[in-house]
């Protein structure tokens, strides 16, 4: 019952999970971070459009509640593996946006010293073992991290984020099976945003719900509305408790939607404007969370405005930090290939 007194707790008895579990300051911090993810990606997109960032990027705008809800019960020591749509996971696990911007700008102050960019963003110090450019690539790695946790008895829990596309990769099957056979402290989080690039789950996936596949690995399969922070956080809490107790893995399917295209090359020809409009106007995760916070009396309009302003400042500072940071020297191209060279 972090942060909530008994009297307050009683008055919240009928509220959704997170409003019973967390205090007002923690919940406001969640809203702050959801905005931070949103504005970070909008900022990155703008910098890309202005030619300040090259390459490509995969935006998770619309999926912020999923990243935040899943990471809510984690400690700093717990670990995650992330995906090419991983900016939200990185921020949710504790990364600083200024070092993320610096990475996108290819600067030495970036989390990967400019060698990884958006698709390999990581923050090992905070337990983010890295986004991954290979669909499903991080799933077995998460199982390996969970094997380390079990062998070294560190008590760490590992989250493996992946998308609906990854659930049709062989790595998904092999990794979930091993995690279940060895009862490892790992949670598989499928962020189902409806499309693997352009191919809908209906056209790519034989089961209706990806969580149904959990039965094949004798682990719980949980479906949550990925746009409702409280639902996601509650499912994550249960799965983390289960993992920490040595009871093995869980598969969580977080049903969500990406407002933007797959990457910068996407012309959105596989879905309708109306569909996108509907998700943006009626099911936006930040709006939904904000409304609940307001309704349950955790924040008022002034408080929300203050958060938005603070986020805007952090984003602006982050972009300035990235711009002002040095680029790596071309003489350092060979660094970090092998350990002794670094």
């Amino acid at each position: 019952m972090a942060g909530a007194s008994k009297a307050v707790a009683d008055s919240r008895a009928n509220l959704p999970f997170v409003y019973r579990q967390y205090g007002a300051e923690q919940l406001k911090q969640v809203l702050y971070k959801m905005y931070l993810i949103r504005r970070f990606e909008e900022g990155a997109e703008e910098c890309y459009t202005r030619g300040l960032i090259h390459g490509t990027m995969h935006l998770s705008i619309g999926q912020e509640a999923s990243a935040m809800g899943i990471c809510m019960p984690l400690t700093e020591d717990d670990q995650i593996t992330s995906t090419h749509r991983g900016h939200g996971h990185c921020i949710a696990k504790g990364a600083e946006v200024k070092r993320m911007f610096a990475e996108f700008f290819g600067k030495t102050t970036g989390y990967c010293k400019g060698r990884g960019g958006s698709m390999h963003i990581a923050d090992v110090g905070k337990g983010n073992l890295g986004a991954n450019g290979i669909v499903g690539g991080g799933i077995p790695i998460a199982v390996g991290a969970a094997l380390s946790s079990k062998m070294m008895k560190t008590g760490k829990v590992v989250i493996s984020f992946f998308g609906d596309g990854a659930n049709n990769e062989g790595a998904f099957h092999e990794a979930l099976n091993m995690a279940a056979v060895w009862q490892l402290p790992v949670i598989f989080v499928c962020e189902n945003n409806g499309y693997g690039m352009s191919t809908s789950t209906a056209r790519s996936t034989a089961v209706k719900n990806i969580a149904d596949r959990a039965a094949a690995y004798a682990m719980p399969g949980v479906i949550v509305n990925g746009n409702i922070f409280s639902e996601v956080a509650e499912a994550s809490h249960k799965a983390v408790e289960r993992a920490r107790a040595g009871e093995g893995p869980t598969l969580i399917e977080s049903k969500t939607y990406r407002h933007r295209g797959h990457s910068k090359s996407d012309r959105n020809r596989y879905r309708t404007k109306e569909e996108i409009e509907d998700w943006m106007s009626n099911r936006d995760p930040i709006t939904l969370f904000e409304n609940e916070l307001r309704e349950f009396g955790f924040i008022d309009d002034k408080g929300i405005e203050a958060i938005r302003n603070a986020v805007a400042q952090e984003i602006a500072d982050g972009i300035e930090f990235a711009k002002a940071s040095p680029s790596p020297d071309v003489s350092e191209t060979g660094n970090y290939v092998y350990t002794e060279l670094a």
Binding site: Y111, G137, I141, M178
Partner: protein, 332 residues
């Protein structure tokens, strides 16, 4: 005091190295298919499961991709896995994790992690196992920056290089020719390492340098013994490491003998012989060459089942003798 030296087989030498590594460091563990009670397809892990338990000699499901990924994940989070592929051919199922993840993770993350992972690949032909269980992929993996690729040719090196691999902070791929597993040789007791990235001159000679890898080292030595009787003095360089390659030892040898032949079992084209030849052509040793460089490699075919065909697809001792004679006598 010198360590006691015994005659061990190549497989026993590897097993002893893994036991020593596990004794020395509790983070070291073995994983692979049927490496526990079965003892491994080639009995390399043998009875280690009885001595170290099923947690440290971990049988995996038949999941090469997933298993390799688990090994990568364990390595970056503090463990030191030694992963056995049942056959090197099955590495094809795990290329994603080896090439995209293990090899690149340190680089992509700007040096924030190391991947202290050892993978063992029983490789090569000669067992009648046909096209999908007989291949030699060391050059494939040797093409990937971030990996180290070694091919020990003797029991002594098999033990010492495996222990060097376990101590290495980066992913080391060990190709073990299956026909070498029963080869016996002197192996000291206890801990020692043989450095990765250093070739070894197995036999000194004046007339011709043969750069050989893995099982071809012994074949080259057998050929050299025959050629010696004909007055042809062959130097045999055991490359031992494919990446990073010990260029200087090869350059110095070619400068001395003025002739170069590369002998390796993998398919000849685009292989290790091409790399060694090109490296010499680019080096100061080029001006010392008295004859064109010769490559003896595997045939441009899959490995066939029929034993006579199988032998014919990879260099044999008479092939080396014939090619060396021609080279030294200026026929080529």
């Amino acid at each position: 005091m010198d360590a006691m030296v015994r005659e061990l087989s190549y497989a026993q030498a590897i097993q002893e190295a893994m036991a020593i590594a596990m004794d020395m460091d509790e983070r070291v563990f073995l994983m692979g298919e049927d490496i526990g009670v079965y003892g491994g397809a080639f009995q390399v892990t043998g009875d280690l499961v009885d001595r170290y338990g099923a947690d440290r000699v971990l049988d995996t499901p038949i999941s090469e991709l997933g298993g390799a990924g688990v090994a990568v994940g364990a390595a970056v989070t503090g463990m030191r896995p030694i992963f056995e592929f049942q056959f090197s051919d099955f590495a094809t199922l795990a290329m994603e994790q080896i090439v995209n993840q293990a090899a690149k993770m340190r680089f992509m993350l700007g040096g924030e992690v190391s991947v202290p992972l050892v993978m063992r690949f029983p490789a090569g032909s000669g067992t009648g196992a046909a096209a999908q269980h007989s291949q030699s992929f060391e050059a494939w993996l040797g093409h990937v920056p971030g990996l180290k690729v070694i091919q020990p040719a003797t029991p002594y090196d098999a033990k010492g290089m495996l222990l060097a691999a376990v101590a290495d902070p980066d992913p080391v791929m060990i190709f073990e020719h299956k026909l070498l597993y029963k080869m016996k040789g002197p192996v000291p007791e206890g801990y020692y390492t043989v450095p990765i990235g250093k070739a070894d001159i197995r036999r000194e000679g004046r007339d011709l340098t043969i750069v050989a890898t893995s099982i071809m080292v012994q074949k080259a030595l057998d050929a050299a013994a025959v050629l010696e009787a004909e007055g042809i003095d062959v130097e045999v360089v055991d490359l031992r490491t494919i990446r990073p390659m010990d260029k200087q030892t090869v350059i110095d040898s070619v400068k001395k003998t003025s002739r170069l032949m590369c002998v390796y079992e993998a398919v000849k084209t685009l292989g290790i012989g091409a790399e060694v030849s090109a490296m010499i052509a680019e080096s100061e040793a080029f001006d010392y060459l008295d004859a064109p460089i010769v490559r003896l490699g595997g045939a441009e075919t899959p490995i066939p089942y029929n034993p006579e065909l199988e032998k014919a697809t990879v260099p044999q001792v008479p092939d080396i003798i014939g090619a060396a004679r021609d080279l030294v006598k200026g026929v080529r």
